[in-house]
Symmetry: C2
Subunit: 343 residues, 2 copies
């Protein structure tokens, strides 16, 4: 039984030195707990925020504590009436091969073993994030134009595909030409721009403007930085910006200052919100679990019908999680980043 | 018949040199037009924006053209079936003693001569702005805390008084101790801070934090700058920020950079929106005239009952409008700024 713990709080981008791989002794279960053999766990950008001790929407991971993650697995010991040995479950297993979980915080999964990882991505927190943000704050209407970055990732690909199904013009932004191929040819977006192929915000904005002749009605914000700066002047009056992340700023420190930020000042952001009467809504998906079953009822059939596709980027072995995490923050993943640790 | 025209586009703060006082010859009326003898017209912060030629939500005033303003007055000549000589009206008279107006863009007023100026402030665009922004985007709930700046002005005083009537804890911010006296003792806010008495954002924030022990749920944004920077870290989870103006940034140029802006970067603003799941909504009141009669029905009785009070800062003479406007942008007015030009 192994786990990855937080060794140091990173300054800027995390390195291998910030993590430790340690052996872990199974404790005796208390009443209401279960022991889970982890099948796989999820790596997500929000985890970078948990490594800092700045005030945020969730407590930071303590130094020496297990890195947090949602994971799926099988119950191998149970001190709860609600779970039996053999049940497949989702819970906050962390970066580990095994986890003791409080049964009432665990969700039983109605998925076969070969589809367990869906509960980490397309039918899990990231897919739910895309669905909730688009439907609640994006308010998509047929004929409108939507832009979403990290378009091949699990949030962006859900947002773009749902928007296509509703008749929007959908532009993805991704970090490589391979990702853009997937976004257009497999996920069905109208266009995709590789942001790494641009030296300046102005060039990115100019290509984006060419692809959005009627302006941008919805910008689904999960990256910020250069993409936000390129998008802002193209927003239409009464545009909507659901904000669920800002991965390009997670490494920048509290007061920001990302190399791309030539001109995006607080006054120019604020002015754009006023002049274009924008609706900007931050949201954290964990506030909205009450709508999770609605999401599953709506999206699971689309998945079964092949109308929503998904990509997974699976690395084997708990010891490889730090490298996969660092790579994901650098945009090296293609699809939902998952660490597989069990059979 | 006289008018004030725009002579130069100001660099930063406007000066007297940017305006001309000119004689004006009454033209022959076309069908559907009326001639109005102006009683008084309104000076508002948004007019500073119209003096620039930057892209905004409304076209700029052309060089040599009459400065725009809403005004009230009496019809003295009519080529419209809808207006008779003697009618009191509201329309976009501009900075002038007389105006030719297109009748269908003019609203007849049901106010006695001594209350005509109400249609410029408390029962006009500013009062409507406060009511609409608070009700639609602020979504006030009893027991919550609201902060509004320019608190003695016509927008801020409407926002704060409506919020008090709904049981909120209301903190005003204003630019002098005299204004703060009015805000607390006449308008009934719980507290008021004089932002000019602070040398640093930190000091303002610290006093604001003391007055808002439960955090801030609604920040009604009409000034931006130092006040926004002080408020942002105090916002509660699920807080709301209706944005209807940013007077402290109007003189700062498109990319901002106000002397007070020590630390308010675009990333810190954006991060706050995400972490606190804020709802930030820009709005321009001219999009919402369809709700004006609802506003009048709701607020006019509160005025008659003495539950909403208002302050007017009246200067006589069209030739004094530039000075009053420059003074208003510097915060020298006390209440709604009005230029009275007729009997």
């Amino acid at each position: 039984m192994k786990e990855i713990t937080l060794k140091n709080r990173p300054q800027g981008s995390p390195t291998h030195d910030d993590f430790s791989l340690v052996e872990w002794q199974k404790p005796t279960l208390n009443a209401g707990e279960i022991l889970v053999a982890v099948h796989s766990f999820s790596l997500d950008p929000y985890m970078r925020g948990r490594m800092d001790d700045a005030k945020s929407y969730a407590a930071p991971v303590s130094l020496g504590a297990r890195m947090e993650a949602g994971g799926v697995g099988q119950v191998i010991e149970s001190a709860s009436d609600h779970f039996e040995i053999g049940d497949f479950v989702f819970g906050m297993t962390g970066w580990a091969t095994h986890a003791v979980l409080i049964a009432k915080l665990v969700r039983k999964l109605d998925l076969p073993r070969e589809h367990l990882t869906r509960a980490l991505g397309v039918l899990g927190m990231p897919g739910f994030t895309g669905w909730y943000g688009l439907m609640t704050h994006g308010r998509p209407k047929a004929g409108e134009t939507l832009v979403v970055a990290a378009a091949s990732g699990p949030v962006g690909s859900m947002v773009g595909q749902l928007a296509k199904l509703r008749g929007l013009n959908v532009i993805g932004i991704a970090g490589s030409s391979e990702k853009c191929d997937i976004v257009v040819n497999e996920l069905g977006f109208d266009h995709c721009l590789n942001h790494r192929s641009y030296d300046t915000v102005r060039d990115l904005r100019s290509d984006l403007a060419r692809l959005t002749p009627n302006g941008i009605d919805i910008y689904f914000e999960n990256v910020a930085g250069m993409v936000l700066e390129a998008v802002m002047p193209l927003m239409n009056v009464h545009g909507r910006i659901p904000v669920c992340g800002m991965i390009s700023w997670y490494n920048a420190g509290r007061l920001g200052g990302d190399a791309d930020m030539a001109t995006l000042s607080a006054p120019s952001l604020w002015r754009n919100i006023l002049v274009n009467r924008l609706s900007v809504n931050g949201f954290i998906i964990s506030d909205h679990w009450d709508q999770f079953s609605t999401f599953l009822q709506e999206v699971a059939p689309l998945l079964d019908a092949g109308k929503i596709k998904y990509k997974e980027d699976i690395t084997e072995g708990v010891e490889n999680a730090p490298e996969a995490f660092i790579g994901m923050l650098q945009g090296k993943n293609q699809g939902k980043t998952i660490i597989k640790v069990g059979p």
